[in-house]
Subunit: 301 residues, 2 copies
């Protein structure tokens, strides 16, 4: 059974006249006659009583018309709803963000994203890199903001901006007197995040530390870590976007000699079909953060 034939049936029932119904359907009268006849054969019952003056729906046809209208209406609804869903820059967009980025990046880009992509309903999801990648591969996220390269050929990514790391020091710390701090100098009393945070590994690498050094503290969040530093328990590396929060906590920030930093990327499944949404989101964020690296590396905030 074909939706087209059902539309023909409705037209004939409505007009009571094969010729006019055919015209309404944009087909010839013989075609309509044949198709209606086939539908009658398929259903196993006569749908119309033919006379020379026109046609009248049979009682059986009347009983079927409700379902026929319902089917055609649903089909039209599919087209209609699809038209509304067609815009790739509209609809839900589930965006993963790592915890060391979310609290500092989201406030910056939320307004520009809303302005540039008003129909895109961005749903942020905060988690560590590996969890975000799992969710991305499980189609539970549409994209993710990461500070690492992506592995595997199923994922693609695009660099959005680079943020420099800064030395975070208690005000009374000896290094706080310097204009610039060398990365390796921090390694003596550096405090780190818990396992799983990419920032932990990046900080270790920047300072030339390989193993499980850096004390026993495993801060669950960057916010906690900053409070520990402010309280004088040690030093750390903070990403540039968190500079404001660090200063608010009473921490002294200094640029790093080797200008260590990290590049924030938008990652997605290569097969994700709403490519325009990816490009648009990436573009908005990159534009908002353009020139951020220089400013942050130079003088803090």
């Amino acid at each position: 059974m074909n939706l087209r034939d059902l539309r023909y049936l409705l037209a004939v029932a409505e007009h009571g006249h094969f010729g006019r119904a055919a015209e309404a359907c944009g087909i010839s009268q013989p075609t309509l006659s044949v198709q209606v006849r086939k539908l009658e054969d398929l259903l196993g019952l006569p749908l119309f009583e033919r006379t020379t003056r026109g046609v009248v729906p049979t009682a059986a046809c009347e009983r079927l018309l409700g379902h026929v209208r319902a089917a055609v209406t649903e089909a039209d609804a599919i087209l209609s709803v699809a038209r509304g869903l067609r815009d790739p820059l509209a609809g839900r967009f589930r965006l993963g963000i790592i915890p060391t980025l979310a609290p500092y990046l989201l406030p910056l880009v939320f307004a520009p994203l809303r302005a540039a992509l008003p129909a895109l309903e961005i749903e942020p999801w905060e988690d560590q890199t590996s969890a975000l990648l799992d969710r991305l591969r499980a189609h539970e996220l549409d994209a993710a903001l990461l500070a690492t390269e992506t592995d595997g050929p199923d994922l693609a990514s695009r660099a959005l901006f680079t943020e420099p790391f800064l030395a975070a020091l208690p005000p009374e710390h000896p290094l706080a007197a310097r204009e610039v701090v060398a990365e390796a100098e921090l390694s003596r009393d550096i405090l780190l995040l818990a396992d799983g945070h990419c920032l932990r590994d990046q900080a270790l690498a920047a300072c030339g530390l390989g193993g499980a050094l850096g004390g026993t503290l495993r801060a669950a969040s960057l916010s906690t870590l900053l409070n520990m530093v402010a309280a004088g328990y040690g030093t750390t590396l903070v990403p540039g976007l968190a500079a404001g929060a660090a200063q608010d906590a009473g921490i002294v920030l200094r640029p790093l000699a080797a200008r260590a930093g990290r590049t924030v990327r938008l990652a997605w499944r290569g097969s994700f079909p709403r490519r325009p949404a990816l490009d648009a989101v990436a573009e908005v964020i990159a534009t908002r953060l353009r020139g951020f690296a220089e400013g942050a590396a130079a003088g803090v905030v």
Copy 2:
């Protein structure tokens, strides 16, 4: 858009795998790929995200699936309901009957019709011949029981049985003493039905009367007419099936010399599609009334 393609869509969404979905649909995998692709082109949005491990419905697809299922369900409902309506010996059957036949024939044939055609819901409609023919032509009746030939090539009919007319006499009437009454002898004091009743014209014809003779009485119903005869106001012709009612009213019945009578026919539109129902109804009535004419003509009841 095609219902077939919608079923394909549902299969792919359900299996998450083109190969297995194709198998479930009884088609090859390439065919399924092509058709789903066409549907995506038609709707203007991607429905599945393809990977090497299988496919996952997009968010837009999920939003559409409800309507798709509804459309397919309605289409199945059409087939299902049609299957139930397929039996031509089931459903409403609107049967017109002339007033001089209905009260006497219906009680005889109702039980046999119910027994032979239990699924046929017969709706009797009592009116005069011309009104029945109008309703028949207007598709407001499916068939009609008449005592006349049908005119026009759009109508067809079949004779069911013949009922003889009987002379209806008050007990004290001179003719009541006879064994047999000649039709013409009734013309002196014959009472007739109102215009429009075919029995009126047939009685006039049987008695050899052409014009508007037979007194000024125009009885609205045969029942009234019989009561008038019983009260001694005159004579009349009654159709055989009404013999019992006439005798109950205290009327004397006598066979007619020329054996005048009328043939009861089932009439229908030639284009009426439920031919088997017509044949079945006609057959039941004809069988029930088989041999009736002889008995009635011979000795009354």
